[in-house]
C-alpha cells in the first residue's frame, strides 16, 4: 500500500455521502449501503494499521504539488489506531441509530458519512490549516445532527454547541495566522521543533493548543459539553463522544509532539489542566440526576486522563494516554448506548422516573454494568489496565498529585455510575415512570428491542477483551508512542522539500 491511497480514506466517505443523499425509495437500501460503506472503511483502516505497525510513516502530497502548498496526508501508527477505533465506534452507533427513529431520517446517513470523512481528514492531515478545514468539515454536519435529532431542548443545545465550536475555530484560525506569520509555513514537518527553539513560536502554537483544549472540553472550558450532548438523541451523543473531543485530543498530542518536540518546560501547564479536568468532571457527575449528564461529566473526567498521558510526555505516559483514549472511546459509546436504549424505550433519562430495568432486561443491564466497571477501572476490564498504566506513568514521572487524583477519581466515578445502576437498573419502576409512558401498568410497558441491546453489549465485550488481552493493544500503543517521542520519521516523511 502506498501513500497515494491515503486520500481515499477521506474521499470514499464524502463521495458515499453524496451518493447516499441521492438514493430515494425505501429505507432498506440506504441503511444497507451506509453499513456496507462503513464496514469497508473499517476494513481499510484496520489494514492501514497493519501496514504501519512496524513504525513506518506513509505520506502523500495530494496532486503531487510541491511541499508546503500541497494538502499533505500522513499516517503513522497513532493515527491508524485512531482511524480504526473511529470507524468501529461509528459503525456501532450507526447500527444503533438505524434501529431508532433517528435512522429513518433520509439525511442521517449522508450527515454521518460527512462527519466521518472530516474526522478521518483531521486525523490524517499533516498541515495546520488543513487540520482547521477538516475540523470544520467534521463540525458542519454535527451542528445539524445535534439540533435535528433529540429532545425539545435540542435547539438550545445546538445553539450552545455551534457558538462554542465557532469560537474555538476562530481562536484556532488566529493561532494559525500567528504561526504562518512567524514561520511562513503551516506544514507540521517544517514546523517540527520550532516551538522548542523560539518562544514566539511557542506562544503562537499555544493559541492553537488552547483552541483544541476548548474543543476537547478540558478545564476550564468544559461546561458546554454536559449542556449539549445529553439533549440530542442517544445515538448521536454516543457518536460525538467517540469522535469529536477525541479528535481534539489527538491534535493536542500531535502538535505537542511535533511542534514543541515534547518540550518539558510547558508540561506543568498540561499536567495542571489534566489533573483539574479529571477532578471537576467526576465531581460534576456525582451531583447530576439524569443518566446523560452523569455519563457526559464522566467523559470530561476521562478527557483529563487522556490529556495526562501527553502531559507526562515520555514513552510510558504517551503509551498509557493512547491506550486510555481507545478504551475511553469504546466504553463511553457503550454506556451512552445502553442508557440510550433505556431512554428510547421508556422515554426518560431522569433517574427518579426509572427503575427495575435489570429485572426486565438482564442482558442490557450486564452490558451497562460491565462498561460502568470498566469506566471506573475495576479489573478485569480495559479501564483497569488504562488507569493502572496512567497512574504508573504519573508516579514514574514524579507527578504524585496527578497520580493520587487519578486514583481517587476512579472511586468517585464508580460512585457516580453506581448511582445510575441503583436508580435505573435496580429496584422497581416507579408508578409515575410507567404513567409517563402512557401505558398504565408495568406489564404493558414495552421491552427493549434486542437490536438496541446488541451494540452496547458488543462494545462492552470489546472492553472486556481489552482487559486480559491488553498486551497486544499496549504493544501497539507503545510502538505508536515511540513515533511521537521521536518524531524524526514523521517529520522526514512530511516536511516539504
Amino acid at each position: 500500500m502506498t501513500g497515494a491511497l491515503l486520500p481515499l480514506t477521506v474521499a470514499v466517505p464524502l463521495l458515499a455521502a453524496a451518493v447516499l443523499a441521492m438514493v430515494r425509495g425505501t429505507r432498506f437500501p440506504r441503511r444497507a449501503m451506509l453499513v456496507a460503506v462503513l464496514i469497508a472503511l473499517l476494513a481499510g483502516n484496520a489494514s492501514l494499521a497493519g501496514v504501519v505497525r512496524d513504525g513506518r510513516v506513509l505520506a502523500h502530497d495530494v496532486g503531487s504539488w510541491p511541499g508546503g502548498i500541497a494538502i499533505s496526508f500522513a499516517v503513522d501508527l497513532f493515527s491508524a489506531l485512531m482511524l480504526t477505533a473511529t470507524a468501529l465506534v461509528t459503525l456501532v452507533c450507526v447500527a444503533f441509530a438505524a434501529a431508532t427513529d433517528v435512522g429513518r431520517n433520509r439525511f442521517f446517513g449522508p450527515l454521518v458519512l460527512v462527519l466521518y470523512g472530516g474526522v478521518c481528514g483531521a486525523l490524517l492531515t499533516a498541515d495546520l490549516f488543513n487540520l482547521f478545514v477538516f475540523v470544520e468539515v467534521m463540525l458542519a454536519p454535527s451542528y445539524v445532527l445535534i439540533s435535528v435529532f433529540g429532545r425539545s431542548s435540542r435547539i438550545a443545545a445546538g445553539r450552545l454547541y455551534a457558538v462554542v465550536n465557532l469560537l474555538g475555530s476562530t481562536v484556532l484560525l488566529i493561532g494559525i495566522a500567528a504561526v504562518y506569520g512567524l514561520a511562513g509555513t503551516v506544514n507540521l514537518g517544517d514546523l517540527a521543533g520550532s516551538g522548542r527553539e523560539s518562544p514566539a513560536m511557542a506562544v503562537a502554537a499555544g493559541v492553537v493548543l488552547i483552541a483544541f483544549l476548548v474543543k476537547a472540553a478540558a478545564f476550564p472550558v468544559y461546561g458546554w459539553l454536559p449542556n449539549t450532548y445529553p439533549n440530542t438523541s442517544p445515538a448521536v451523543a454516543a457518536l460525538f463522544s467517540g469522535l469529536h473531543t477525541k479528535v481534539a485530543v489527538y491534535a493536542v498530542y500531535r502538535i505537542y509532539a511535533v511542534v514543541y518536540d515534547g518540550d518539558p518546560r510547558y508540561l506543568v501547564v498540561l499536567v495542571t489542566i489534566a489533573t483539574i479536568t479529571m477532578a471537576v468532571g467526576v465531581l460534576g457527575a456525582v451531583g447530576e440526576s439524569t443518566t446523560g449528564t452523569i455519563l457526559i461529566f464522566n467523559m470530561v473526567s476521562g478527557i483529563g486522563y487522556v490529556l495526562l498521558g501527553v502531559a507526562l510526555f515520555g514513552p510510558m505516559g504517551i503509551t498509557a494516554g493512547m491506550f486510555y483514549l481507545v478504551h475511553h472511546m469504546v466504553v463511553m459509546a457503550s454506556l451512552l448506548l445502553s442508557t440510550g436504549a433505556v431512554l428510547v424505550t421508556y422515554g426518560s433519562q431522569y433517574l427518579e422516573e426509572l427503575g427495575g430495568v435489570a429485572r426486565r432486561e438482564p442482558l442490557l443491564a450486564a452490558a451497562f454494568l460491565g462498561a460502568a466497571f470498566s469506566l471506573a477501572g475495576v479489573p478485569p476490564f480495559s479501564g483497569f489496565v488504562a488507569k493502572f498504566a496512567v497512574i504508573r506513568a504519573a508516579v514514574a514521572e514524579g507527578q504524585y498529585v496527578a497520580a493520587a487524583t487519578a486514583l481517587v477519581v476512579g472511586f468517585v466515578a464508580l460512585v457516580s455510575v453506581l448511582k445510575i445502576w441503583h436508580w435505573v437498573f435496580w429496584g422497581r419502576m416507579p408508578k409515575e415512570g410507567a404513567q409517563r409512558h402512557r401505558s398504565m401498568s408495568l406489564a404493558e410497558m414495552p421491552r427493549v428491542r434486542p437490536v438496541l441491546i446488541v451494540p452496547a453489549l458488543l462494545l462492552t465485550l470489546i472492553s472486556l477483551g481489552m482487559g486480559p488481552g491488553a498486551e497486544p493493544v499496549l504493544a501497539m500503543t507503545e510502538q505508536a508512542a515511540q513515533g511521537l517521542v521521536d518524531t524524526a520519521t514523521y517529520v522526514e516523511e512530511v516536511a516539504g522539500q
Binding site: E136, A140, L166, G181
Partner: protein, 104 residues
C-alpha cells in the same frame, strides 16, 4: 499599523458582542471576530508585498504571498456558512433566546 489597529478594533467589538445575551448579537460578534481573524491571516503573509502574484507581471520579490489569501478565502466561506446556520437557529421557533434552563 493600520491593519493592526483594524484588527484590534474588530476584536474589541467582536468580544463585546459575544458577551451579550441575545443570540443575534453573539452572531454579529462572530462576524466581527471572523473578520479580525481573516485580516490577521492576510497580514501574516506580509502587508508590504503589494504586487499581484501572477508569474511574469512583477518582480517575484515584491509579489504578495498567495497562500494566506487562499487560506482567507477558505476561512471566509466556512465562517459564512456557519453564520447563516446560526442565524437559522436563532430564528427557529423552538425556545426563546434565553435558554439557560435545562428543560426535559
Amino acid at each position: 499599523m493600520t491593519v493592526a489597529l483594524g484588527i484590534g478594533i474588530l476584536v474589541t467589538g467582536g468580544v463585546y458582542l459575544l458577551l451579550q445575551r441575545g443570540l443575534v448579537r453573539v452572531i454579529f460578534g462572530f462576524v466581527l471576530l471572523g473578520h479580525a481573524a481573516n485580516l490577521l491571516l492576510l497580514s501574516s503573509g506580509g502587508t508590504w508585498l503589494r504586487e499581484a502574484a501572477i508569474v511574469g507581471t512583477a518582480d517575484p520579490e515584491r509579489m504578495a504571498d498567495p497562500l494566506p489569501q487562499a487560506f482567507v478565502l477558505t476561512a471566509i466561506v466556512i465562517t459564512f456558512g456557519v453564520t447563516v446556520y446560526l442565524l437559522a437557529l436563532a430564528g427557529s421557533e423552538h425556545g426563546s433566546d434565553d435558554d439557560t434552563e435545562r428543560s426535559r
